[in-house]
């Protein structure tokens, strides 16, 4: 396993009597685009606020780049975030907004700001004030602000919220580009799994303040792809039958379920061979689960 950039231990945040985040254990590897998904009010923003240093956990802890507790202060500067709406001074231009943060980080030079503006596609906005920006432009400027200081971990809270389809594609492409070109680890939240699935390499699914599942993009794709789902009495014997049929892409899911990811058109033939081997097949069918239904099932009450 590659180096863990972020690891949380029973992280909890309580507002009044309500636990917004209830003991989550999150693991984010270096270079990953980690998608934190959950319905509204699942605790995503609160989790990101804590990781971004804007809010303190009520209990639990987390480590960033291997540092935790008092040592966290040393690595805080390597994390940058865009939480909820982009925080911009409306009366300043994109350049001036970036300049203010650059000054705070001790970064000098107009070229640095110009490159950032180019990266997010705002090089031509000139002296237009941020208050006159469209939502997409604001989001892009917010990402540019988060990029100041070359962070190693970028924390983005619903950056595609409210954007039109074109804007969503732009932001998505930008994030992929940033991750690939700069090697930045990205922790991104959304309540739209479909959109996250186009960029994320890892997923954490949150519901009611809890992390209900963590999985890689491959695992998610496996869970949501077309497959033959067979319920048999002896899966180990079924494995032998499948091996004899030359089927290699299959998985024993539990004590009675097998998922076969190839030769989907041969479902009747496979059924007959399983029966022939003396197996009791109580169900066999070609199934798939959409990302949406996977998400809904995972986060169901």
């Amino acid at each position: 396993m590659s180096e863990l950039i972020l690891q949380t231990h029973a992280l909890r945040k309580v507002y009044g009597t309500q636990a917004a985040v209830d003991g989550i254990d999150l693991k984010v590897e270096r270079g990953a685009i980690y998608g934190l998904i959950g319905k509204n009010g699942a605790g995503k923003t609160t989790t990101l606020k804590m990781i971004g240093g804007l809010s303190a956990p009520t209990s639990g802890s987390f480590s960033l780049f291997g540092k935790s507790g008092a040592e966290l202060a040393e690595v805080r500067g390597r994390v940058s975030c865009l939480i909820e709406d982009p925080g911009l001074f409306g009366n300043l231009t994109a350049y001036e907004n970036l300049k203010a943060k650059c000054l705070c980080y001790g970064i000098k030079g107009d070229d640095y700001i110009k490159k950032l503006l180019e990266l997010v596609g705002l090089a031509d906005v000139g002296k237009k004030k941020a208050k006159h920006f469209s939502l997409g432009m604001r989001q892009r400027l917010g990402i540019a602000l988060a990029m100041v200081g070359e962070p190693d971990l970028l924390v983005l809270d619903e950056p595609i919220n409210g954007l039109d389809p074109e804007g969503i594609v732009e932001i998505r492409d930008m994030l992929t580009q940033i991750s690939k070109e700069k090697g930045i680890t990205i922790l991104i939240s959304s309540h739209i799994l479909e959109e996250l699935s186009k960029v994320a390499t890892h997923y954490g699914i949150m519901s009611k303040g809890r992390l209900v599942e963590q999985l890689t993009a491959e695992e998610l794709s496996e869970r949501c792809s077309l497959r033959i789902e067979a319920v048999v009495d002896r899966p180990e014997l079924a494995s032998t039958v499948l091996d004899n049929l030359g089927i290699t892409n299959y998985k024993v899911v539990d004590k009675e379920t097998l998922n076969i990811m190839e030769r989907l058109e041969d479902v009747a033939y496979i059924n007959r061979e399983l029966n022939k081997a003396g197996l009791l097949v109580s169900k066999i069918a070609v199934n798939n689960e959409s990302l949406e239904s996977f998400f809904l099932n995972t986060t169901a009450d």
Partner: protein, 280 residues
């Protein structure tokens, strides 16, 4: 820390309110100083002054702003009188307070604090950086105030009597310190409340002597408890701003102690609050 101060100063000079307030104050000061003779000689104002003088002992009647630039018997003005009359009348504190509220709450209201607040090593640096910017603003404000007063004197053709240089320095320095501390108190209040409306109301109420009624009430209560001639306002920064003038050498030490106490408390409370509370 130094970088954070640079950022605060950068955003301060790029705020519209920074320039608007300075321009308003400068123009207003030039006009009022230049036309002081005309204004004070008007029968309506004379009547108002007399009425105010007769009600001076009533604390409730003293609510509001009162600025008077006294002329010497020969019709001349003392230089310090011109410079400090508005300061003692809390006019400078009013404008400095307004700007401080707008400035200190701007990054919270806009959400800009989210861009850098989480990345700072020590959150108290956020408070100190703002405090330095507010100090810079107060210095700029005072310099402009002095320049505009001089311009008003020149335009109005007033006869000026210069005060001793040491006295000018002393009064300006003490008033400057008191106004900086006043701004810090307002800044700490803004950081705690994070609400510019309430902070603005409190700041204006202090400047407009609205709390004088409360102080008076507290004084009476303290007198009943055995504290003779209690005067709470003597232990406030605003009270000292109103009091400290050309003949206040005898209260220099206690004024500086009051200023120091408020500065320390503001810094401590502001820093502690920023460290302990969530930024957003």
């Amino acid at each position: 820390m130094l970088n954070m101060i640079r950022m605060e100063l950068y955003r301060m000079v790029r705020m519209k309110s920074f320039w608007v307030i300075l321009i308003i104050v400068a123009v207003m000061n030039v006009v009022t100083v230049a036309l002081n003779d005309v204004i004070t000689d008007s029968p309506e104002l004379q009547q108002a002054i007399e009425a105010a003088e007769s009600e001076k002992d009533d604390p409730v009647a003293n609510i509001g702003m009162s600025i008077s630039m006294k002329r010497n018997d020969d019709g001349s003005y003392g230089f310090l009188e011109i410079i400090t009359s508005a300061a003692k009348g809390m006019l400078c504190a009013l404008f400095i307070g307004i700007f401080t509220v707008i400035f200190a709450t701007a990054d919270f209201n806009s959400g800009y604090i989210k861009n850098y607040g989480g990345a700072v090593k020590h959150r108290y640096n956020l408070v100190f950086a703002k405090a330095v910017a507010v100090l810079a603003y107060t210095v700029i404000f005072f310099v402009l105030f002095i320049i505009s007063s001089c311009l008003g004197v020149y335009i109005g053709g007033h006869k000026i009597v210069m005060d001793p240089a040491g006295k000018i320095f002393e009064v300006l320095a003490v008033q400057g310190v008191l106004h900086v501390v006043f701004a810090w108190v307002i800044m700490a209040l803004c950081l705690i409340l994070r609400n510019n409306l309430i902070s603005m109301i409190v700041s204006c109420c202090i400047s407009m002597h609205v709390f004088a009624a409360l102080y008076s009430l507290a004084d009476k209560g303290l007198e009943k408890l055995g504290w003779k001639n209690a005067a709470i306002s003597d232990y406030t920064v605003s009270g000292r701003i109103m009091k400290y003038g050309i003949d206040s050498r005898n209260i220099l030490g206690s004024t500086l102690v009051v200023a120091l106490a408020f500065a320390v408390v503001s810094a401590l409370v502001g820093s502690l609050w920023m460290t302990k509370k969530d930024l957003v």
